[in-house]
Symmetry: C2
Subunit: 199 residues, 2 copies
């Protein structure tokens, strides 16, 4: 019997994706579930529903609450958190590099290091220097940055984002198990339980 | 020492408020926390951020997901659920009557019966006949419906909604403990734990 599998859809600019990226490893292992990391871009999905930036900027009360909520959650999880004033960061480069990195055994570590650099240290992941540090710290070659911008790799990210929209995703993180969709870090446990129950 | 107290802010038209209304009683008792039920209206708060109806209508992908998510959650909780096609229902009458009902020992039972009539049976809580049934089934007098429309009682609901907005609420259910705000049924357990820790 193949191992049950879940898809973890994330945008590097998404605060709550940071929480899931940091905590899903041990939970998935304990549940015996294999995780496919699926970077995608929220920007085009938000644009399609008329938003030109993060909902946390469009709705200030929601934005203020999000940072307070994140502070409580990261404290409970023992994770560092820097409140960003340049939210949302441009996550295109990080996502394109992640697609290549995830073809290696260090891919997940790279993704985590990007989230940590941004939300733990407050660095701007739109800067190639930051992505280079993340590649180096996880033992990956820096030429992934150049390869990331090639047409075939750009197309993969566009296709992933189109697939996300076609599958009904409207936010991040999301989890899919076949046609079943779960939205939000709060649903991680439920999504894993669903995956094992319907394997 | 006074008993720790939490405020439960809800709009009768809110699906996720239904979940909290149905499950918070035993959880709060177990935590030794007293609950103040605070009906308010999301409409004016949504209007202030440019929404003229429920976000679940404005963003169809989110609306489709919400009903699927509600189906999973209510099944896990053993609660009935009817998918509504007249969402959001007008909850003004229910909220005004609830304010009066909550001054009696049957107030919480009345609120639960309104949620159950709407989301469990698919009835329209804008109809006085439905509210009358809820009052009768919880042993409250039907003249609360007439008293609900009086100026002083209308003003109380307006003030509650203004207070909610001033305290940073942007959705329902929400929970407040002093200045601390928690949004969403998913945060109920965390809000109760916070309440006991900071009593």
């Amino acid at each position: 019997m193949p191992q049950p599998r879940i898809e973890f859809w994330f945008d590097f600019a998404s605060t709550y994706s940071y929480l899931s990226a940091m905590r899903l490893g041990p939970l998935a292992r304990a549940a015996g579930v294999e995780v496919s990391w699926r970077p995608f871009l929220l920007g085009p999905i938000f644009a399609a529903q008329g938003w030109t930036t993060s909902p946390f900027r469009i709705y200030p009360a929601k934005g203020r609450y999000m940072w307070r909520d994140m502070a409580r959650r990261t404290q409970a999880l023992g994770l560092p958190l820097k409140e960003l004033d340049n939210m949302p960061q441009n996550s295109v480069l990080a996502a394109r590099v992640a697609q290549l990195a995830l073809g290696t055994t260090q891919g997940v570590a790279f993704c985590r290091s990007v989230f940590a650099a941004q939300f733990g240290q407050g660095r701007d992941i739109a800067e190639a220097a930051v992505i280079r540090d993340c590649l180096e710290s996880t033992g990956l070659p820096c030429d992934l940055i150049d390869r990331a911008g090639q047409d075939d790799n750009r197309l993969i990210l566009r296709r992933s984002t189109e697939e996300a929209m076609a599958r009904g995703l409207f936010g991040a993180p999301s989890f899919t198990v076949g046609d079943e969709l779960f939205w939000g870090d709060d649903r991680l446990e439920e999504a894993l339980a669903w995956t094992t129950r319907h394997a």
